[in-house]
Symmetry: C2
Subunit: 348 residues, 2 copies
């Protein structure tokens, strides 16, 4: 009946203490980390706090038969880092909760934390708390990530204006191609059949882009601090789905130039080898964790020059249109069609 | 392979939007609630931020065959509110993540949120985010609660000094008695056999204390703001277990006067009817969500006078002793014995 915590605490304490020693570093604004009723953070100057959380379930978001605990941890952290990047914020504090089945030993829990910290460590993120309990079924992982910006400045989804240019960072579709390659290595049935050779270096690149994506923290900070973007989101569901979120929040439409979508040589080669359309991978592939953002046309020159200076790859892929325009895409032959409400899962 | 979010999003969006409309109120410092990559909170003045999180698993922390979704939500929120109370902080922002099995319909999700907000609403807590996904197995619930205090002031576990008085709020053991009553109503085997009558009003009181506990937010704020307490923790695991946390964090020992433990008339009557020792219920019963705190002897008069003025029930139950003293309890006959390392689960 109801919630009983005490009976699951003994194992939890030993584990949390071990992890606290290993991962919870001191941080100048951290008053109290793991080991009290709550973590305490000092906010000495006016600031905005950005809080994002994800709950991931075994068998739904990840499969421990094919993914390592380290990779599950890494990707879970990266998904949250990417949300913080899309706000233009600096990631600061991490809370990690686990519900752990009996079959998942302490060694794998540490592996999972190592994956989390491999993703978070380079950004100076501090592990400040969490909760660990037993699970009668699968592994569940809940992550809360807190980031900060200066007061009054962040990238929202709702700021896009008619006429703004639409940009993406990096290249699109790589993660989906990598996922399909991994699936194809396990089972030939569930994935497009190979029709030609694919270089090992291309394969490795695409699989790495899937297993070890990079949140665009630096790009988000730059766009926010320089005041260059009007709206931003990270590409977790795929371009067509995430662009819709910006359009809905900003009450605008959008026109995408399919010919402009940035596609990596590896993704092009993969599409050719598997007889797929690379644009479809780019449009619907999820989990690239690139940033999709909008910027006024007057800022275009400054934006592209600054990106070059900083070594950030950005590509203009279309324009914000009035709401009544809807979301349309221009084919390479110039024809306009509505952007389909698909997401990359249809490839599975 | 790895984490796939997109395929579980369609149901999620509709649900979150419905809940956002229903529960996510505006709040003066909330810049962006549900509906962007992260929630954004303005921290305009120097402040300390208190963050606590819990992950609760069906079949481990709660049983949906006997507990309503509303009660699971209420108790989950209350456990987190109690952590914030034990820091002396004001609860402010709530994030709720759910992994939901197919059999758990939208109506019960709303019930669960109603339970959460029934607990949080009176304290002005705002729902600012979360995540909802499918679960292949049971229901999983992750809660993150953020509270604030003024900068430089909070109640920690580590502040107790030798000679300090030890206090508790309210009465002890009620929740365990209520749990046993509920279990007894389902199955006679798993619970002490009744040996005498127990008034309905006592039964109702104890069951209510178990199903609808009250976090001591007001008491925590008072103790912190008035600078009266040196250390505090909330009683979730039971007095013996939680006192140990204060002793470990403060590197001290403790002496508890068993005769002083506050026991409600209902709990006394229950213990008599079931031939149990009420002190054992009080010492080991978990989930009372009362505060256990320490205060210098010089503050005793001011503390007890202010508590009376404010209508807060507090009871002095012992003293902080040197570390080498360990944790001992004085029986009503004056004999001293070590406090056992038991927790209330031994009653099950």
């Amino acid at each position: 009946m109801a919630i009983r915590k005490g009976r699951h605490r003994i194992q939890e304490f030993a584990l949390i203490q071990a992890l606290a020693r290993r991962f919870a570093k001191n941080s100048s604004h951290l008053v109290q980390g793991i080991g009290d009723d709550a973590a305490v953070i000092a906010a000495p100057a006016p600031a905005w706090w950005h809080v994002t959380t994800d709950l991931l379930a075994e068998g739904v978001h990840f499969d421990l038969r094919t993914a390592s605990a380290e990779s599950v941890g890494y990707r879970a952290a990266m998904a949250n880092l990417s949300d913080i990047a899309a706000m233009g914020a600096s990631p600061r504090y991490l809370l990690v909760s686990l519900a752990v089945p009996r079959t998942f030993g302490a060694a794998r829990i540490l592996e999972l934390y190592e994956g989390l910290m491999q993703a978070c460590g380079p950004h100076g993120v501090t592990l400040i708390g969490g909760d660990t309990s037993a699970s009668q079924t699968g592994l569940f992982l809940s992550i809360t990530l807190i980031g900060t910006t200066i007061s009054g400045r962040a990238l929202f989804r709702h700021g896009a204006h008619v006429g703004d240019c639409i940009y993406v960072t990096g290249t699109l579709g790589d993660s989906l191609a990598g996922l399909q390659l991994l699936a194809g290595n396990k089972s030939k049935r569930s994935t497009p059949r190979p029709s030609g050779p694919l270089r090992n270096s291309h394969q490795d690149y695409l699989i790495r882009r899937h297993l070890h994506p990079t949140a665009r923290i630096g790009e988000g900070l730059w766009l926010n601090r320089a005041g260059l973007a009007t709206a931003a989101i990270d590409l977790s569901d795929g371009l067509s789905g995430d662009l819709r979120h910006i359009c809905d929040a900003s009450r605008v439409g959008a026109e995408i130039d399919l010919g402009a979508l940035p596609i990596s040589p590896a993704c092009s080669a993969y599409a050719e080898a598997r007889r797929l359309r690379p644009l479809e991978l780019a449009l619907t592939g999820g989990e690239d964790y690139e940033l999709l953002f909008t910027a006024p046309p007057a800022r275009q020159t400054a934006l592209e020059r600054q990106a070059r200076t900083r070594g950030f790859q950005i590509t203009r892929i279309g324009f914000i249109r009035p709401r009544r325009f809807g979301m349309q895409m221009k084919s390479t032959d110039g024809a306009m069609r509505p952007i389909p409400m698909t997401s990359y899962e249809h490839f599975h």
